[in-house]
Assembly symmetry: C2
Homo-oligomer: 457 residues x 2
């Protein structure tokens, strides 16, 4: 038989086991923190009906959708009936609308699953990637206090992910909208176009953006453009500084005052949630999905790795599921794109290959003693210690080498001597050290060693 080349499609991240363990640990940290804040798990099917998935999306998103057909449906005319989800927000909207009567509101859910986008193949662009989302959905109304809880979750997650210093950046779309109105840019569409230009500040530089905005396409006054550029460059250095800078914007239309009041309430409350002032700032350039978010918006950046961009973003939206239900369902949420984050952190040398999930390898010194080795392994496993037993045998040196290569730290040897003396020899491959321990003390000793190892990271 001719061989088929074993390969995966471009744009997916498939990991070797020790890398998968590192990735899994990040997933576990995120999940644990989401649960600590009282978010409940939800999983939705990867495949959704195309008409359910694509009610809201424009042409651009549509081109990136993967459609699905069973063999029997391949020859049918028309667009495929099924498609893969491209985010977790549309499935959440569908889920809440479908199960509305069975849910308690405010509904706090987390969802950590993969999503699919038919991206052009390109380094760092993924066609399959994990999103780790939380959202709080209110029925009819949702207090702005929930907007202050979200940064507390972000803080908790990223502190435990141990990826260095990070900053949660906040803005408010109402403040932005109102400020633009106060400058005479009243039309929503026009605001969006201006914001899109302003968003290019980092890429194109202030001069180029200014030229565009005073040029033919926009025709804005130089003074107005100066004000816009000054606005989006506002950053706070402390909570008090944030308040001062918000006040310094001057008064504006009602929507702007509303945004300012919301931002102040949220910023003050973030501190009450225990987030240090060093970890959150006002950043009036944050706009996010221009037509989706309506109030508070968030981005999170790693202080030492600004090139990575935002690692956790989201915001407040007015109505989650208007395409499916007449119920008014405001919400606030964030998303961590974990596949991309993991890939970038590894690329930046910030993630090491993990130690194995296997704690102990029980070697096979004497094949005749295999039942004793198996009994020992059963004992260790009952104590919650992940244990592999060498079943094939072979030279001891080769067994050690296997453990070393597989990232297993502790190797247990039980030979004639040890059996006679009622002890076990433990070899610590990381410290290049070995010691004898009484058989009855083995579990206690290994537990201490493993706890120390875990604490050391």
């Amino acid at each position: 038989m001719a061989l088929t080349l074993a390969r995966t499609m471009p744009g997916v991240l498939e990991l070797l086991p020790l890398d998968q363990i590192a990735f899994q640990r990040m997933l576990d940290v995120i999940r644990r923190n989401y649960e600590r804040f009282g978010f409940l798990p939800v999983e939705t099917p990867v495949i959704e009906f195309s008409d359910v998935l694509l009610t809201k999306t424009g042409g651009e998103t549509e081109r990136q959708v993967y459609f699905v057909q069973s063999t029997g449906a391949l020859d049918k005319e028309g667009a495929p009936e099924l498609a893969l989800r491209f985010d977790l927000t549309v499935p959440l909207a569908r889920y809440v609308a479908e199960h509305e009567r069975e849910l308690s509101f405010p509904f706090r859910r987390y969802q950590m699953q993969r999503v699919y986008r038919g991206e052009r193949a390109q380094r760092g662009r993924f066609r399959e990637f994990y999103q780790c989302d939380i959202d709080v959905i209110g029925k009819d109304a949702l207090s702005v206090r929930y907007d202050a809880e979200i940064p507390a979750v972000i803080y908790s997650v990223f502190r435990e992910l141990n990826v260095g210093a990070f900053t949660i950046q906040l803005n408010n779309r109402k403040l932005m909208r109102g400020y633009f109105e106060s400058l005479g840019i009243v039309d929503g569409e026009r605001q969006m176009l201006v914001l899109r230009e302003v968003d290019k500040l980092d890429k194109r530089g202030a001069d180029a953006v200014r030229d565009t905005l005073v040029g033919e396409a926009f025709g804005l006054d130089v003074a107005v453009v100066q004000k816009i550029l000054a606005f989006v460059q506002v950053r706070s250095t402390s909570l008090q500084d944030a308040f001062d800078k918000l006040d310094a914007l001057g008064s504006g239309p009602e929507i702007m005052e509303q945004g300012r009041a919301e931002l102040k309430e949220v910023l003050a409350m973030i501190r009450d949630f225990g987030v240090p002032e060093s970890h959150f700032v006002l950043n009036l350039s944050i706009a996010r999905g221009l037509d989706y978010y309506t109030g508070t918006v968030y981005e999170t950046t790693l202080n030492d790795h600004p090139q990575i961009g935002s690692v956790c973003s989201g915001g407040r939206y007015e109505n989650l599921a208007g395409q499916y239900t007449k119920s008014h369902l405001p919400g606030v949420g964030i998303s961590i794109g974990l596949t991309r984050l993991y890939w970038q952190l590894r690329d930046a040398g910030l993630i090491n290959t993990a130690q194995s999930t296997v704690d102990v390898l029980v070697t096979q010194m004497d094949p005749a003693q295999l039942p004793a080795y198996l009994a020992l392994a059963t004992e260790l496993r009952s104590a919650g210690i992940a244990t592999e037993v060498v079943l094939e045998g072979g030279k001891l040196a080769k067994q050690f080498k296997y453990a070393d290569r597989a990232g297993i730290r502790f190797v247990v040897v039980l030979g004639e001597d040890e059996l006679a003396k009622g002890v076990v020899t433990v070899k610590d491959l990381r410290r290049q050290d070995q010691f004898e321990v009484a058989r009855g003390e083995l579990i206690k000793t290994l537990r201490v060693e493993l706890e120390q190892a875990a604490a050391m990271g």
Copy 2:
């Protein structure tokens, strides 16, 4: 805007949060036990190249495949280039072939992900379902001892899943093949056809199967058919009984003797692995995938729910990845179809809706005290206690009702009285009980309560 009906496609299992928690706990138990036995995590992409996925499969499987196309590829001629995996075995084969040089052998991996099959919509048939697989893959050779380790893992998993009494049933394809040869049924294809008829024993009854086998299509001697039917009805009642019944089959061709020797070694060693004799039996009717497995085969049944059928099956195969590599990669593994298992257990009333993952709800008695409530919540969360805070306020009775409906057991009340006295009131909604505890003792007290609750299940 006209509303789109929020719905999922038939054949998927979407759960409400408390059910999802119960499901997630089962996933966690399986994962924890797989890791305890030294299996390493692997995840593979849901989408694979069609030619990679379909090298081995026949027409029947092919009809059940979901093909995938990005919008740009929809108008292209020919079969779609991409497809969704229909099991975890083909992706494992591809993974091992692709990463062979970077893996340590024997390669022990677990994989717990969803797979997709374009099944006809039918009660209890799933188009998307979790498989939880383990496999041990050898390079060139793999000791039959690994065949004995697998039932130890099954025992460990199902004991902790807490689904009542279960029995692991074993057979060996070589024994079967050899026994058929000894009866003059030498051709492999013919053996398969006979086995397929014998497999209908439960459905059609012995008489109908006998009639078919002595009839025109097969033309077997009545005596031969009698022997076959006696063979497949062999069950053991203890390890010694298994040995006796294997011996009683009489001598046969080499392949049969090999199968018998393997079965004896495996059965004896399962006991050494700590599996009680009550939990594994010889069952010579087990055949499994007729063309895939080559040695030991397993099925696992719930003693009190035989109608559910096998909840965990697998076996030994000769060569995992012959379609991708010239390397000889024998292996042994099992799969738990968790979606179906969960669904059936719930259907049989064996799974209750879980308590919430949220341990504590901090109520909002006095909005002015919100900072104190937030500080308390932060404290609880730091201690690993999953805590939700009522941020919207409202009547206390309504807050209790929310907790009750959401499955949160403990509710904390911190009013003027409590603040003055330096205490906290804890309401246990399950026991319909409440008590006061000193603020400084709250975490310790709740931990004890939660541990007790966890121990009670």
